[in-house]
């Protein structure tokens, strides 16, 4: 199952197929017939079974499914955190299926951002230092203005000197988003980003993610933002452009522009 291809911004009124129409952009992440099994013999579990899916730039996709359906494994394999047993994974234009550790490290620095359910900020560092951390790890010259802007973009311009324990859960998650986006990665992987938040903080975080996808269109040179998000929450999933459903390691459905109720109903039928 694959999304429709995304295109760079075309001149107004130009129909697709016109000779001047920009060529389709390659997916930010693509899984081709990926399989992943854990254990061996009788205890073997197939977490992903022949999964093919592409996540184009400028799109936000939610991944849903019952417990044990393979959502997290899909995210881990797509992000190069786990190895696929079969198939191929293309990330930011590179085949990472058998990529060595240093290549994956380099990709994590330049092309990927992560947002976790439990924020995972470094407790010893201030919000500003947390946001600057990926740049410092990548050895690029620290652009303090970019760091401050990233914090301001998530509404925490005045909280730069606070340590994580001095911030609320929602604020910590916003710092984590600023940290994930400061290097302008091609793909943002989010693992239950609203799972530990109250509904108001969750709404703020989802609005923030929506803004990032809508506003980073690729016109400033950086690739349009792609977000892949694993969630249990139909409200969070409904904020995405599309929702894909997994069951027993297989992709079974896709809903585009669905409401929270529709997402919840579909999930309920899968869980039956």
């Amino acid at each position: 199952m694959t999304f429709a291809s995304a295109h760079a911004a075309a001149p107004q009124g130009m129909p697709p197929g016109h000779p001047g129409y920009p060529p389709p952009m390659p997916p930010a992440v693509e899984l081709r017939s990926v399989a992943r099994r854990y254990g061996s013999g009788d205890t073997s579990v197939t977490a992903l079974d022949d999964v093919s899916i592409a996540f184009p730039p400028g799109t936000w996709t939610a991944v849903m499914g019952p417990s044990g359906s393979g959502k997290s494994t899909l995210l881990h394999c797509a992000a190069g955190l786990d190895r696929a047993d079969e198939g191929q994974i293309i990330l930011a234009g590179r085949d990472i299926t058998r990529a060595p550790e240093h290549v994956l490290t380099e990709l994590r620095r330049r092309s990927l951002g992560f947002v976790f359910q439990n924020f995972n900020l470094v407790g010893a560092l201030t919000a500003e230092q947390n946001v600057a951390l990926p740049m410092r790890l990548a050895g690029v010259r620290l652009d303090r203005r970019a760091v401050k802007r990233a914090l301001a973009d998530v509404g925490l311009g005045d909280r730069g000197n606070h340590r994580p324990r001095e911030l609320s859960g929602g604020q910590q998650q916003r710092v984590a988003i600023a940290r994930a986006l400061v290097t302008r990665p091609a793909v943002l992987f989010a693992d239950e980003p609203t799972g530990a938040l109250d509904s108001r903080s969750a709404r703020t975080v989802l609005e923030l993610m929506r803004t990032v996808v809508d506003e980073r269109t690729g016109q400033d040179g950086a690739a349009p933002q792609c977000i892949v998000m694993v969630t249990h929450d139909p409200v969070a999933a409904a904020a995405a452009d599309a929702v894909v459903f997994l069951r027993d390691g297989r992709l079974v459905d896709r809903l585009a522009g669905a409401s929270a109720r529709q997402v919840a109903d579909r999930l309920a039928t899968l869980e039956d």
């Binding site: 620095r109 992560f114 976790f116 995972n120 900020l121 470094v122 990926p134 790890l137 693992d191």
Partner: protein, 645 residues
């Protein structure tokens, strides 16, 4: 990375407190030992000392020097060992943090740099503390050496500013060396571990632990297998070897062995849910239990094993001496008065050994042109060969005691290991003149420490020397005469102390034990301090990291007091296992003595020490566990159970 090292160090200083304390102790001890050693390099010999007194003072300084050398080496070894285990524990506790850094793009070399940066900071701060701590410790060490009689009261340590630079280098070196294994292990943390607790995060028995643990245990088993056929010296070497290899092996395998031993505590679970929870936690918290039990295993095995070994050696020396004497009494007097003993009615034979206050320079001509020269000042005994043979069964392994006439000398049991050969020459310095002597016989080695080094003929000593020298006369009572009557007659001479051979030998054993205890106190006291630091450290780190678990237990229905009691029961179980396994190692180490090597069925078990170790270990674990659990359960449980950070 360096800034991050500093931030982490400042933020999580409790994790590093134990390691920091260890570096402070290590640097302080090393510095103090070096300063005291420097003081011991130039013995202060009071004016007018005789050659014998000079020799004794020099020997004491030399002995203190080597003891301090061993102390310094042991301090370095223990510091590296404990920093290693502390770092391994802190890395294990911070695995998710390190995985997060890897997820954010940190490369493996960057993780290594971060942890080495922390180790460097630890080393620098520890050195600063160690330099300060080393000053009072230097005086304490000097006091310990003089008050135990190892060094004379005139001794003073020597301050040298250059040593301080060495202290900084040592502190940084200890911290970096100790952190190597944990740092390299941390570099292998996978980014995925930031998202879930898998793989290496759950694996405690690393290949290094397996290799080290199984290798050392195999070595121990091989040595134990040889115990049956070993002579006394072999049994001693095996005891020393097994104490070390067994302790290291079991502490490396402790994540496996301690939870397994925890099964033995199953009967206690009948005492209620708290005991059940404690036993389950002990088996489940493998890393925590192992980190606490390992230093207990090492401490108990080394202290009990080595003390028992030295005690057994002293005791066996006493038995050996008794076995080789044919007589009932030993009279201690001066050399001149000793002559009166032979004429006491009822004395069948007597032989006097006079401690000669002379020096001997032995020149060994072993066929090469160079040979070697050695000056001996202690353990030179003047005897009458015929009388000696009448009261002692020991005979030379080469030559004959009958040849100890004229200008002759016999290499005694104390120089049996030095390789002095028959035919070598020795020049005796008698103060006013020198006499050239020839080595005519060699005596076999004995089990006694400080055995006589050389026998010289008693004509060598002048009347004046004899009057000043200490003499021990072995007395054999004539058959048909009451030994008690002879003893009374000897006492009536009023020339000195009259003891039975048994009492005299026991007094020598007692003296040897006292010396052993002084040395063990200096060396093993140090190990005990380190072990205590390691135990407290492991328990404090574990307690702090268990705040959420305790909170969940309270939300499940346990009162704060019950949580504290359950943690205390768990700590007591770990202590029991740690000390128990240490005693098993010590028992295995001493097995060689049970077979009666060299016909000596002797074993000295330091029961008082064992009781003190058991009480000390339980005392420390009880106090630390209660304190840390109470501190960890102070906040309201709901705030901790909900905490994510």
């Amino acid at each position: 990375m360096w800034r991050m090292s500093w931030s982490t160090f400042r933020e999580r200083w409790t994790l590093f407190a134990g390691a920091l304390l260890t570096v402070v102790f290590g640097v302080g001890l090393l510095q103090a030992s070096i300063m005291v050693s420097l003081g011991a390099e130039h013995p202060r010999i009071p004016a007018g000392s005789t050659p014998g007194e000079t020799a004794r003072i020099k020997d004491a300084y030399e002995g203190a020097g080597s003891l301090l050398g061993m102390t310094a080496m042991l301090a370095c070894f223990l510091a590296v060992f404990i920093i290693g285990s502390t770092f391994a524990f802190t890395v294990a506790q911070r695995r998710a943090d390190l995985a997060l850094l890897r997820t954010l793009g940190a490369s493996r070399p960057q993780v290594v740099t971060l942890l080495f940066g922390e180790a460097l900071l630890l080393g620098l701060l520890g050195s600063a503390g160690g330099i300060l701590f080393g000053i009072p410790l230097m005086w304490a060490q000097a006091y310990l050496l003089t008050s135990n009689g190892i060094l004379p009261d005139s001794f003073a340590p020597h301050w040298d500013n250059g040593v301080l630079l060495g202290s900084v280098a040592a502190g940084v070196g200890m911290a970096l060396t100790g952190s190597i294994a944990a740092t390299l292990r941390a570099a292998r943390v996978r980014p995925l571990e930031a998202l879930r607790d898998i793989g290496g995060a759950a694996r405690i028995m690393t290949p290094g632990r397996w290799i080290w643990g199984v290798g050392m245990l195999a070595l121990s088993v091989a040595m134990v297998a040889m115990e049956g056929g070993a002579d006394f010296l072999g049994a001693m070497l095996i005891a020393m070897g097994v104490s070390f290899s067994g302790a290291i092996g079991l502490s490396a395998l402790s994540p496996l062995v301690v939870p397994l031993a925890g099964h033995l505590l199953r009967p206690f679970t009948r005492f209620g849910p708290l005991a059940e929870l404690a036993q389950a936690n002990l088996r489940d918290g493998k890393r925590r239990a192992a980190a606490t039990a390992a230093p207990m295993i090492v401490l108990t095995a080394l202290v009990v094993g080595l003390t028992a070994m030295l005690g057994t050696q002293a005791k066996a020396g006493g038995v050996d001496v008794k076995r080789k004497i044919v007589g009932e009494y030993v009279v201690t007097s001066n050399g001149v008065d000793a002559r009166r003993i032979a004429s006491v009615p009822g004395v069948a034979a007597s032989s006097t050994a006079v401690t000669a206050d002379i020096s001997l320079t032995v020149t060994e001509n072993n066929g090469t042109k160079r040979g070697y020269r050695k000056k001996v000042q202690a353990g030179i005994i003047a005897i009458d060969p015929a009388a000696y043979q009448a009261t002692h069964t020991s005979r030379p392994v080469s030559g004959s005691l009958d040849a100890l006439r004229g200008n002759a000398v016999v290499a005694g049991p104390g120089s049996a290991e030095d390789g002095v050969r028959r035919g070598s020459t020795a020049v005796a310095d008698l103060g006013d003149r020198k006499v050239r002597l020839k080595v005519v016989a060699r005596m076999p080695a004995t089990l006694e420490n400080n055995a006589d080094a050389f026998f010289v003929p008693n004509w060598l000593l002048s009347e004046d020397m004899l009057a000043k020298a200490e003499a021990e006369t072995t007395v054999k009572v004539a058959s048909g005469t009451s030994p008690a009557d002879v003893a009374n007659r000897l006492r009536d001479l009023r020339i000195g102390k009259v003891q039975t051979v048994s009492a005299w030998a026991d007094a020598r054993v007692g003296e040897q034990m006292k010396q052993n205890n002084s040395v063990m106190m200096v060396l093993m006291g140090l190990s005990a301090v380190y072990a205590i630091v390691a135990i407290i450290n492991a328990m404090v780190i574990a307690g702090t990291e268990r705040r959420r678990e305790f909170a969940v237990a309270r939300l499940t229905g346990l009162s704060r007091r019950q949580v504290v009691r359950s943690a205390l029961l768990e700590a007591s179980g770990v202590t029991l296992i740690g000390v128990g396994l240490g005693l098993v190692v010590a028992l295995a180490a001493l097995g060689g003595f049970l077979f009666g090597p060299d016909g000596l069925e002797v074993l000295s078990v330091p029961w008082t020490l064992i009781v003190l170790i058991v009480l000390g270990a339980f005392g420390i674990s009880t106090l630390t566990s209660t304190f840390t659990t109470r501190a960890a359960t102070r906040p309201a449980p709901v705030t901790l159970a909900a905490a994510r950070e």
